[in-house]
């Protein structure tokens, strides 16, 4: 059925089997589907098909398709090779020493697979023809859903309870506490005041005497002393004043330094 000298630029001659012309490989779900379709065209029970004829039809179909330069998927070619092998096994009598499965066995295998595929297709459609839920059979259209009432089980430990109590009692205490506004002498202020008080005096005068006025407020005493003492040390370092203390914890005496430039 093939032209002996294929002319690529002309339509190939029509194949002998008219059916094959109208067969499009794209319409098949693989080689087994194609084989099943070809088998069906023998119009006999699958158990009675001629596997040899089927193999020949398949092979010539693939040939035709390839002549039309249509890409044929690999598994169709694998099947073609297997069928060519099957054909040879069927036509050549089996040698006694041959370990390979007989052609009849291979043919039976193919027949079985075709029958099984066909059976699956048949039951699939039977399944779809059953009264299906949502098509012929219906579930409750207005299901009454569960209403879920959530109840809480509260968790708290004795420690949580005591901590909550203690912390809020303490909170109550601190709420009544108003901090005392302290006057704090900055070092700069203390230094300015000390320098102003000492003025041009070169006499030893006790620091507390200079500060007497400021020390009269008990709340400020500490900050006045501390800041003044710290700034006095700074003034000593800068060479502006002299300091002396005659005994431990005794009064601190200060005077202006007689220095260079004076």
């Amino acid at each position: 059925m093939t032209t002996p000298q294929p002319d690529w630029f002309e339509t190939p001659a029509p194949p002998a089997d008219e059916d094959i012309l109208y067969v499009d490989v794209d319409g098949y779900e693989g080689p087994l589907d194609l084989l099943l379709d070809l088998a069906r065209r023998q119009k006999v029970d699958l158990s009675a098909i001629s596997v040899l004829a089927l193999a020949e039809q398949y092979l010539s179909f693939i040939e035709t398709v390839r002549e039309k330069r249509i890409e044929v998927a690999a598994d169709y070619l694998v099947m073609a090779a297997w069928l060519a092998y099957l054909k040879s096994r069927l036509m050549v009598p089996q040698a006694p020493s041959d370990d390979e499965p007989s052609g009849e066995m291979l043919a039976a295998m193919l027949q079985f697979r075709l029958k099984r595929l066909e059976a699956m297709r048949r039951v699939a459609s039977q399944l779809m023809n059953r009264p299906r839920l949502g098509f012929q059979v219906y579930a409750r259209g207005m299901p009454e859903p569960y209403q879920i009432a959530r109840t809480s089980i509260w968790e708290a430990s004795l420690y949580d309870l005591l901590k909550a109590y203690a912390s809020q009692r303490e909170r109550g205490v601190t709420a009544e506490y108003s901090p005392i506004q302290r006057t704090v002498w900055s070092l700069q202020d203390a230094r300015d005041i000390l320098q102003r008080l000492i003025g041009e005096s070169f006499e030893w005068v006790a620091m507390d005497t200079y500060l007497a006025h400021y020390l009269s407020t008990p709340a400020e005493r500490a900050t006045v002393r501390a800041s003044t003492f710290a700034s006095s040390l700074e003034l000593v370092r800068l060479g502006k004043i002299d300091m002396r203390q005659t005994e431990t914890f005794g009064p601190l005496f200060v005077r202006r330094r007689k220095g260079d430039g004076q």
Partner: protein, 231 residues
């Protein structure tokens, strides 16, 4: 029975089956007119529905009429089957914990007193929650103007917190010792001794209708269940 009435009965049964299926599968209540096409012209839908309703009368599912429409519904007395209790364990909020602690230590105590200690208004919801949890109860009414309800703790409270009696609640020194209270507290600070007895001399018994709480007697309260700063 004559053959004719047998036949009629058969038709009725067939119609009832169709109505059953229609009403079951419908996603909303159906009006009789909508069911008529399934029965054929001349069928007495209204009469059939009444018959069907009678058949389901004592069953777990009833055929009910809602306005002009009909539907199957779970029998009212079995509604509980469709309700589910779900319990979830949740930690008590800080406001609730604080309120509970004050009630425990200061009982019998009123809401005004709780608010005084906490420094914020206590939402109605907080008290309700503690009442529902079963940890506090209304004890009586304080014998003062306005007769406010006094609160105290319950046996369930003792049970939950593993206390044998109220006197197991730690006192001032114990709280200090355990580090829950810091050392620097005014000497005036005191931790009261909770009173768990029947009624104190300044308490009256609750009024007969008190067990709905003082919800209604206190219309100015926020009922939002949240604590908020006092105005």
């Amino acid at each position: 029975m004559t053959d004719g009435s047998d036949e009629r009965q058969e038709i009725v049964e067939r119609h009832l089956r169709v109505l059953e299926a229609l009403l079951f599968a419908a996603s909303e209540p159906l009006e009789p007119l909508a069911m008529l096409p399934y029965l054929g012209e001349g069928a007495d839908v209204a009469g059939l529905l009444v018959q069907l309703q009678a058949r389901y009368a004592g069953r777990g599912v009833n055929l009910v009429q809602r306005g002009d429409r009909w539907a199957f519904r779970t029998a009212e007395d079995l509604g509980f089957l469709l309700r589910r209790q779900e319990q979830e364990t949740r930690p008590l909020s800080r406001p609730a914990l604080e309120t509970l602690a004050i009630i425990a230590y200061h009982q019998p105590t009123t809401r005004a007193e709780i608010e005084e200690v906490r420094g914020v208004a206590t939402g109605k919801g907080t008290i309700d929650l503690l009442l529902e949890a079963g940890w506090i109860r209304m004890r009586g009414r304080r014998r003062t103007p306005g007769r406010p309800v006094t609160y105290g703790t319950t046996e369930a409270f003792l049970d939950h917190f593993g206390l044998e009696t109220l006197s197991d609640l730690p006192g001032l020194e114990e709280l200090k010792g355990s580090g829950l209270l810091s050392g620097r507290l005014p000497p005036s600070m005191q931790i009261p001794l909770p009173f768990g007895g029947a009624l104190r001399e300044d308490e009256d018994p609750l009024d007969p209708d008190d067990h709905d709480d003082d919800r209604d007697s206190d219309p100015d309260r926020d009922d939002d269940g949240e604590d908020h700063d006092a105005q």
